[in-house]
């Protein structure tokens, strides 16, 4: 029952002397500010010196210039890596979501033998370091003499994102959906139609959440992309090779752009996806 009183939890009349309370409050805000400063310091420095008019992204700040952004956009290899990253992220996330959804549907709606074991197996890659997953795949690919490419990177990214997608979608398949599916079946829909026309749309918020989360994971993933690619590389790998040249405002510029893009995606997601699902 929604009593007006229940929303007012902070109204508790505590006896603490107001001086002590104010001190505690001031300390809280100071702590908050300090940790925020720590969290934002490197990002602020990164963005600021991406506009550096000079060759070194460290103080003093010589003046405002967009030259490093120009050189980022003029860098063919960097732009190719960006495209590769997008391609691998979208494709591997799509496959992860599809396989994850199908598996979640089967395990949540049908009685299959050893389903706990199957769930465990599907989740297992989450508990293993990416480095180990990459090494194992690399060893097998080498043994089978499969050449490394964006395809192999994509395979690796599905391995790490499939457990994530499966877990998110499986968790959202509540029992309260069962009767809606039964009703659809009762009205003559086949199993596959029920899945495509009823279950998938009902679960769309969590499927989309899983999809975008995997995109960000794949987009930012380094070690698998590094070990399993050869000539065509993804953006983190390309940035990595740029780091060899040491401190360079161009790295700042590409880093700031990635940050900006992520923030835009985040804001769009917040407004489009979570904003909607929060209102019942």
């Amino acid at each position: 029952m929604a009593q007006p009183g229940e929303t007012q939890a902070t109204d508790i009349a505590f006896p603490a002397g107001s001086a002590r309370r104010m001190l505690a409050s001031a300390l809280s805000w100071f702590y908050l500010a300090a940790v925020y400063a720590f969290i934002f310091l490197p990002v602020a420095v990164l963005v600021l010196f991406s506009f550096q008019d000079g060759r070194l992204p460290v103080p003093p700040f010589n003046g405002f210039s967009l030259q490093w952004y120009e050189s980022v956009f003029a860098d063919r290899k960097l732009m190719a890596a960006l495209a590769n990253s997008l391609m691998v992220a979208v494709a591997s996330s799509f496959v992860s979501c599809l396989l994850g959804f199908l598996a979640a549907y089967a395990l949540a709606r049908y009685r299959l033998p050893a389903s706990a074991l199957q769930r465990g197996l599907l989740i297992a890659p989450m508990t293993v370091s990416y480095l180990i997953i990459a090494l194992g795949l690399l060893a097998v690919l080498n043994a089978l003499q499969v050449p490394l490419s964006l395809w192999t990177v994509g395979i690796g990214h599905v391995v790490i994102n499939l457990p994530l997608c499966f877990a998110i979608i499986y968790a959202s398949m509540g029992d309260h959906h069962v009767n809606i599916e039964r009703a659809a079946r009762d009205l003559g829909a086949s199993d596959v139609k029920v899945m495509a026309l009823v279950t998938a749309p009902m679960l769309m918020p969590s499927i989309m959440a899983a999809f975008f989360l995997s995109i960000t994971f794949s987009w930012d993933e380094f070690i698998i992309a590094f070990l399993l690619s050869r000539f065509d590389v993804t953006l983190p790998v390309e940035i990595w090779s740029m780091l060899r040249s040491g401190l360079n405002p161009k790295t700042n510029a590409i880093g700031s752009l990635v940050f900006l893009a992520s923030v835009v995606v985040l804001v769009v997601l917040e407004l489009a996806l979570f904003g909607r699902s929060r209102k019942p």
Binding site: M1, A2, Q3, P4, A9, F14
Partner: protein, 362 residues
């Protein structure tokens, strides 16, 4: 331990919403009081103010002659039993019950002994080492009760403690709760929206609506002699009949209604002595209708438009011949032979009818 509670002129506003509006109550030590009302009526707000979780906007609360203004929950002679019980899931029952004693600095051996005593009181002595999640709903409710009582409060505040239980268990718990209250003697203030529960356990009921006290008294008074239309309607099914006082004598008054004149004892006018010409609303409970052989002088006859058998009674929908659109619900005795479309004489026990100042009919 036990204490009286007195509430004077209490108001609480949330932004623009008036949750409590000038509430006055006097609760005697050792009473079992039930705050009854629909959701949003302010009963939980009142309980939270008594417990010290909310600060009133105006007015005073005195518990055992001590003004409670500015006294935090921990220092009040009250404990609260929460709606979701708020049992600490990581603690065994004995530690849950002993928590308040521990906070008072009691050593482990004595608090375990005392907690075990309280678990015994609620019949859960053997489960002392279990954790809350191993218990059924009714058992959790008992542990929450034991935990709240273990610190010897003067006043125990219960926030819809039986709301989560199924009907059968709820009735059983009501009996247990009442018996326990009589044993420990603590003042209980219990919030519910279930009027049957209120009648089953309360010494006195406070009926609340829109932040005001509508009625306050023993269950039988509130049921039989409600002091407001809302209280009459909330306590059970009732027929409202508007009328005009046509004649007042020393111990009775006649009310002119759509179904004919009705003579009522003066005592049945609960708010004020009737004045001739005054408009009133009569509250007639369905069970107060009677079957009679002959028409009562002046009263209309009625046609039975629907009837169903409920075991203890026949529930009839009646359309009075004098005013067919004025539908009435009547409970006729088990033994009565009544069928649809029967024409029967209307009659009821005047003692069961209450007259209140008129409010527009709905």
């Amino acid at each position: 331990m036990t204490a009286s509670v007195s509430i004077r002129n209490l108001t609480k506003t949330f932004a623009t919403f008036k949750a409590l509006d000038d509430v006055w109550l006097d609760i005697a030590a050792g009473e079992f009081i039930v705050l009854l009302g629909p959701s949003g009526c302010g009963k939980t707000t009142l309980l939270s103010i008594l417990g010290g979780f909310l600060t009133p906007t105006g007015g005073t609360v005195t518990i055992g002659d001590r003004d409670m203004a500015g006294v935090p929950p921990a220092l009040r002679p009250t404990t609260t039993m929460f709606q979701d019980y708020a049992l600490f899931p990581h603690m065994r029952l004995i530690d849950n019950v002993g928590f308040g004693l521990r906070m008072r600095g009691m050593d482990r051996a004595s608090r375990d002994a005392k907690a075990a005593g309280f678990l015994d009181l609620v019949g859960l002595k053997l489960s002392a080492r279990k954790k809350p999640h191993e218990l059924s709903g009714g058992q959790r409710q008992r542990v929450a009760l034991a935990r709240a009582l273990a610190v010897d409060p003067d006043v125990l505040l219960l926030d819809e403690p039986l709301g989560a239980l199924d009907l059968k268990l709820r009735r059983q718990m009501q009996d247990e709760l009442k018996a326990l209250q009589k044993r420990v003697g603590t003042t209980f203030v219990h919030v519910t929206h279930d009027q049957e529960e209120a009648m089953a356990i309360a010494d006195r009921i406070v009926v609340m609506n829109h932040g005001r006290v509508e009625d306050f008294g023993p269950p039988s008074d509130i049921y039989m002699r409600p002091k407001s239309i809302f209280a009459a309607g909330f306590m059970g099914e009732v027929n409202f009949l508007s009328g005009r006082v046509s004649r007042v004598e020393c111990d009775a008054a006649e009310v002119e209604t759509q179904i004919g004149p009705i003579v009522l004892p003066i005592a049945n006018f609960t708010i004020a002595r009737p004045q001739a010409g005054e408009h009133v609303t009569l509250c007639i409970r369905p069970e107060h209708f009677r079957t009679v052989d002959r028409s009562v002088a002046g009263l209309s006859e009625a046609v039975v438009s629907d009837v169903s058998f409920f075991g203890t009674h026949h529930r009839c929908h009646l359309a009075p011949v004098a005013s067919p659109e004025r539908k009435l619900v009547a409970h006729m005795p088990q033994s009565a032979r009544i069928a649809r479309c029967d024409r029967i004489a209307l009659a009821f026990d005047p003692a069961g009818v209450t007259a209140l100042p008129e409010v527009p009919e709905t």
